[in-house]
Symmetry: C2
Subunit: 342 residues, 2 copies
DNA sequence: TCAAATTACGCAAACGGTTGCCTTACTTTT
DNA sequence: AAAAGTAAGGCAACCGTTTGCGTAATTTGA
C-alpha cells in the first residue's frame, strides 16, 4: 500500500512539459491559452483526479473560503434548521461553515467572535445572544473588513445588514383565530423584558388586543427567564388570577412544552380548557398528543438562507473599496400561523 | 475607519530588527533562541494581538487542522449530541470540524468522502450509513494517509479503529426488567435485516429470551425500513397475532414514537396494556406523557468524544512512518437501561 | 593560546497556486 | 518588405510560516 500524494499543478505541468502558469490559466479558461493546450491540461487533470489545494489558494488569495456562524444554541431545532440553510447555500459556493455557540453568554460571544476573526473567516452570520447589550465586538470585525449579516435575533440599529422575521402577521392572525373562537382572555408569557424579541411580542400583543377591543390586563402578561422554574412560576401566577386565561401565547416552543405540562398538572384538558399558541413550530409537535392549537412559524431555514445570500453579495462586492453610500440590505419575512390538526 | 491588517511575523521581525525565523522560533520556545529575545518577541506579539495565519501554516505544514465528520443525519438528536462531543474535543486542540451528512445514502457517502479528501482533512470520524455494504471508499482514504475512526455504526471488520457501544448490557437489563414484571411475550421491531445494528439487536434478543427460558416465536420479531409506513406495518403485524405482545423493544426512538401512536390508535394504554423499550433515549421523552417504560442509553456524546480522542492519537502518531504491527484502537462502552419515571 | 564546542541568530528554500509582465513566433497591414 | 499587431505561453515574485544549514561571537577545554 503505497502512500499517494494528491496531484499538484506542478505535476501536470511537468508531465505536459509546460509551465505551471500555463496550467493554472488553462484550468481557469484564460483566453491567452490556446484551445489545444487547455484541453490537454483539463484532460490530464481529470485523469489524475486533480483538485486544487485549498490551503494554497486560501493562503495566496488571503481568503479562507469559510464563513463563521455565531448563534445562541445549536441544539435548538430552530437554529439547527438555520444552520442547515446556511450550509446548503455555502456549499454551493464551495464555502465552509465554522460554527460557534454563544449559549446566550455575551462573554462567550465576544471570545468566539475574536476567534473567528483570528481564523480569518471571510464573513459572519450572527444571531445575537439574548443577553447581549453592547455592539463593539461586532463593530471591531468591520475594521478588519469582515462583513456581518444578522439574522433572527438582530441588534436594534439601522446600520446593519439583516434577514429577520416579522412576527406581526402570524401573531395577529393567532389572536384573530382565538377571538373567532370566542376567546378573549388571552395571556402572553413573554421572555426577559430586555430582549428585543420580547419587546416585539409585547407590542404586537397590545396591538392585537386593541384591534379586537380587548382591554389590556397587566396581570395577563407574565415574563420568564425561560428556565423551567421561571416558566412554571409564570404559569402559577396566571392560574392564581381571579380570571385565569383561556388561551396563552408563549414566547417559544420550549416554554409551551413546560406550560402544557403545568396545565395538565392542574387537570386541564389542552385545547378544551386551555389553548396554547407557540412561537417557532418545532417538528416534534406532530408526535405529541397534547400540542398547541397553532404555532407561529418563523421560517428559520429561509431566513438563514437569505442571510447567507446577503453575506455572499457583500463578500463578492468587497473588493470595490469605493465606499459608496453605505447601503444596508435588510430583508423581513412574514411569519405565518400554522394550525396543528388535532 | 481604517482597515486593519492582521499582524504577521514579518511585522514583528521588522519592529524588533530581527529575522522572521527568530520570531517564529521564539514564539515556539525553540531552545536556540535566547531568553531575552524570546521575551521581547512574545511581548510584542501580545501587544499587537498577533495570531498566526492559519492558512499559511496549513499550507506549509500540509495539514488543514480540520477533521471531517461523516454521519447519517445531523438532525437526529443522537448525532447532534455526538457532534457536540466531537466539536468540544477538537476545539481544545484548535481543530475545526467539517460536517457531512450521508442521509444513509451510500452514494452520497462516497461523494462526501471524496470531497473531504479533496478538502485535505487531517482525519475522519465516520458513522457508517445504514445502507452501506462496501468498504472501498474508506480504504481509499488510507492510501492518502488519512486516518479514520468509526463510531456507533461501525463496519464489520477487525482492521479498523472504532468507538462503539455494547448494546448487550442495556438490552439484557431491559428484558430482565420486563420479565421481573411478569411479562414474557416480548416483541422486537428491528431495523433492516442487513444492518449490523439489527443483527446485534437480534442476537441479544435471542440471548435474552434464552436466559429467561422464553421460547422464541419468529412472529414476534418484525422488521421495518424505519419509514413511518414500515413502522406502522410492523405494528399491524404484531397486533394481528393471536397472542399479541405485551412489550415491544423498538430499534430506535423514532420508531418508538410511531409505535406509541399506533398503539394508542388501538385504544391501548401505554405502560399498562403495552410496554415499550426504545434505543437511544431522546431528550424529548421527558415532555411526552406517553413514553417508553425505559430506554437504552448509548452515550453518543461519550462515544463520539472517545472516537475523537483516538483520532487525535492517530494523527499525532502519524509522522512515525514506522508501520509497526498495525494496532487498532477499539473501545466499547456499555449501554445502560434508563427507566423513565412515569 | 589555540582548537573545539556552544550559544544565538540569520539566510534562503520550500509549501501550491496566481498573476503582472515579458518573450517568441506568427499574421496583418500599408 | 518593414512595422505593427496578435496569439500563446514562460518567468518570477508573492502570500506567511517553518526549518535545515550556515555563521559569527562567545565560552570552554587542554
Amino acid at each position: 500500500m503505497s502512500i499517494n500524494r494528491l496531484p499538484t499543478i506542478k505535476e501536470i505541468a511537468r508531465k505536459l512539459n509546460i509551465s505551471t502558469s500555463t496550467v493554472s490559466r488553462a484550468l481557469h479558461d484564460h483566453p491567452s491559452i490556446g484551445w489545444v493546450t487547455t484541453m490537454r491540461v483539463k484532460q490530464l487533470a481529470e485523469e489524475l483526479n486533480y483538485e486544487p489545494n485549498f490551503s494554497a489558494i486560501s493562503f495566496k488569495q488571503r481568503k479562507t473560503f469559510t464563513i463563521g456562524v455565531l448563534l445562541p444554541n445549536l441544539s435548538e431545532a430552530f437554529f439547527s434548521t438555520a444552520i442547515s440553510g446556511i450550509e446548503e447555500f455555502a456549499s454551493t459556493k464551495k464555502y465552509n461553515v465554522l460554527i460557534g455557540q454563544s449559549l446566550d453568554d455575551p462573554e462567550r460571544e465576544v471570545r468566539i467572535l475574536e476567534s473567528m476573526k483570528n481564523h480569518r473567516v471571510d464573513g459572519m452570520i450572527v444571531s445575537v445572544s439574548k443577553n447581549t447589550t453592547s455592539f463593539e465586538h461586532f463593530e471591531q470585525l468591520q475594521h478588519y473588513n469582515i462583513p456581518i449579516v444578522f439574522f433572527d435575533c438582530i441588534p436594534e440599529r439601522t446600520d446593519v445588514h439583516y434577514s429577520a422575521c416579522n412576527l406581526q402577521t402570524g401573531m395577529l392572525k393567532a389572536i384573530e383565530t382565538l377571538v373567532a373562537k370566542g376567546i378573549t382572555n388571552i395571556a402572553l408569557i413573554n421572555g426577559p423584558a430586555h430582549l428585543n424579541a420580547s419587546k416585539q411580542r409585547q407590542q404586537i400583543y397590545f396591538k392585537g388586543l386593541k384591534m379586537h377591543n380587548i382591554p389590556y390586563d397587566p396581570q395577563m402578561m407574565q415574563t420568564t427567564d425561560l428556565s423551567k422554574e421561571g416558566n412554571l412560576a409564570a404559569m402559577d401566577k396566571l392560574f392564581s388570577l381571579e380570571h385565569p386565561p383561556k388561551a396563552i401565547i408563549t414566547f417559544n416552543d420550549y416554554l409551551a412544552l413546560d406550560a402544557i405540562v403545568a396545565a395538565k398538572a392542574r387537570n386541564m384538558v389542552i385545547n378544551k380548557d386551555i389553548y396554547f399558541i407557540s412561537f417557532a413550530n418545532l417538528p416534534i409537535w406532530s408526535y405529541m398528543n397534547e400540542r398547541p392549537l397553532a404555532s407561529i412559524e418563523q421560517f428559520p431555514h429561509l431566513q438563514a438562507e437569505k442571510a447567507t445570500e446577503i453575506l455572499f453579495s457583500l463578500m463578492e462586492a468587497e473588493p470595490g473599496i469605493e465606499v459608496k453610500k453605505p447601503c444596508y440590505q435588510q430583508v423581513i419575512f412574514d411569519s405565518e400561523l400554522i394550525l396543528h390538526s388535532l
